[in-house]
Amino acid sequence: MKIVLYICLFFSSLLHANVIEVGHNKPIKSIKKAIALAKAGDTVMVYKGLYKEGNIIINKRIVFLGKNVPVLDGQKKYEVLSIKADSVVVDGFKVIKSGYATLEDPCGIKVYNKNYVVIQNNVLDDNFFGIYIQNGSHCIIKNNRLTAYGKEEQSIGNGIHCWKSDSLQIIGNTISGHRDGIYFEFVTNSVIWRNISTRNVRYGLHFMFSNDDAYISNIFKNNGAGVAVMFTKNVKMFNNFFEENWGDAAYGLFLKEISDSYIIGNKFSKNTSGIHMEGTNRIQVEKNVFKANGWGMKILASCSDNVIKNNNFLGNTFDISTNGSLVLNTFNNNYWDKYEGYDLDKNGVGDVPFHPLSLFAVLTERNPSAMLLFRSFMITLLDKSERILPSITPDNFVDNSPLMHSLPL
């Protein structure tokens, strides 16, 4: 009985954690000193104020808590916060002005090869890289606000940068003005949920060699080149918004070498190209809305076995475009607002097939300056006759069961 009691006492003493307070009117004024004093499991509570302590390294399993948003200033020289221990929690700080170096990539907050780190409710302003997870797993990045003021790709880093990691959760962050809003390279089994990525210099989300991930309900708006997903399989893209990505090579969603993935319930509006697909295989594109884009979808001839069904195509300049005559993809049950067929048996499905590829889309693909003649009477006539008797456009590029009414998406 006594032994049991001793064991209980022993464990409860282990569970006991101290709170070390840091502040201008507290006994401890330096964060570095507080971390040095802390033992694993302690909480370092930092009170409101401006802390210019250079590079702060957290090398113990502590909770690092900011009270009333204390400011950690990197003075444009240092990496602000380096996390080199498992299960660290960083909560409630304002991290500003990390250094700039192209070799070391100094960050606002960086995790070095550690797991179960939680970074939440922080504000990051004017950093080179925002939050960087290097070779970590089971980390959570939640409700942070990242702002930077990048003008060109070379002089600014990524907002949330994840490399060679696993099982991450990126939730509810707001990112703007970085190079890539969220960057994933060799990251697996992770989820990107409810983030807002706007006005980044390059991509809102940049995604490479990252299998088995999902991104859900994010907003990507007005980024330099939209969103790029490349060299990946098993990606799930659900209910995201891709908006106003305008420019020479801007895409709502750019897919390159993707296979076995799902694009469901997304909304693409006012992009130069809604989706641009290159070398993709076995992708389900379902229940998406393509509205007021220059090109709804660009499906290059290198794509095969993709299924495009139950989507709404509304008010796009061109619904579909391609660069060859080979068609290995299927279109079914989509609503096309350019469809002019009829429905005699009133089953909601048009009785004549729809050829979504217009002659003029093919012409502009071959000779971009032909755009000059768009909507002229001559071109409209040519387009109409091409739709009835396809000669230049591939005749198997067809939706055999176009819907008469738009789907309620």
């Binding site: 130069t272 007021a292 607002d337 755009m371 000059l372 768009f374 909507r375």
Partner: protein, 255 residues
């Protein structure tokens, strides 16, 4: 001068054709806007009206009207009125009625259903196109005394601007596609008022596509406020130049 304009304007109103034109424009626009809950289809209908119907009606009606009122013009010439004044009043009376017809027929539905940059642009461009083709009608009717020949010239010039010109441009584009002809093509559009009008509307209507790489050069020129100003100036030149040539010819004409 005001009295001559008023007489001509009232005469055109009495002539039921312009009224019918207004009503037809109105029916087309209201019904195409009312067809669906978004205004896209209506805008496209009005676009084809501007690029097709408005030029045809403006040029044909004005030409025929001028030929039919040749006796009235001769009567006016016997009065102590300057020839310039008579010709200008005729132009103002005719163009006022055509612009008014377009404004009431297509402009009001535009303002009701699409009171944004697209709608406003279409309204302005439609009025300008009416003016351009009335001016071209003055030119074609002064070129020859023969009525059927004059109407023939009017129809030919409409056919050229509405159809043939684009065909020629398309041909040039594909013949010279190996050369950097984008800039030259922008210059070529200045040669057709309908193309100028169309591109201005396109930049508003298909912004997403025109902002893309294909449209970059057009956006860089037409999309800037300088480009906008230049293309409006060019459209105005298309009104002034044909009318001015016809005015000189009318002044020196032996009637």
């Amino acid at each position: 001068m005001n009295r001559i304009i008023r007489i001509i304007f009232l005469d055109i109103l009495k002539n039921k054709i312009v009224l019918a034109y207004t009503i037809i424009l109105g029916i087309l626009s209201w019904s195409s806007f009312g067809l669906e809950d978004n205004s896209a289809k209506g805008l496209l209908t009005i676009l084809s009206i501007i690029l097709f119907t408005v030029p045809l009606v403006s040029i044909l009606f004005a030409t025929i009207y001028l030929y039919n009122s040749s006796e009235f013009i001769e009567l006016l010439l016997s009065q102590p009125i300057k020839r310039k004044k008579i010709w200008l009043s005729l132009f103002l009376g005719l163009s006022l009625s055509m612009v008014l017809a377009f404004f009431i027929g297509a402009g009001i539905p535009l303002l009701v259903y699409a009171p944004d940059s697209v709608g406003i642009m279409m309204l302005i461009v439609g009025c300008l196109i009416s003016l351009v083709f009335v001016a071209l009608a003055f030119l074609s009717s002064i070129l020859t005394r023969d009525k059927s020949k004059g109407i023939g010239i009017a129809i030919m010039s409409w056919l050229y601007f509405a159809l043939l010109f684009d065909g020629i441009v398309l041909f040039l584009l594909f013949q010279f596609s190996d050369y950097p002809i984008e800039k030259a093509m922008v210059a070529v559009t200045a040669l057709s008022p309908i193309d100028l009008a169309r591109i201005q509307i396109l930049l508003q209507l298909d912004a997403s596509a025109m902002m893309g790489y294909t449209g970059a050069i057009f956006k860089d020129f037409f999309g800037t406020s300088l480009g906008l100003l230049i293309s409006f100036l060019l459209l105005c030149l298309w009104v002034v130049v044909p009318f001015f040539i016809s005015l000189i010819k009318f002044k020196n004409k032996d009637l």
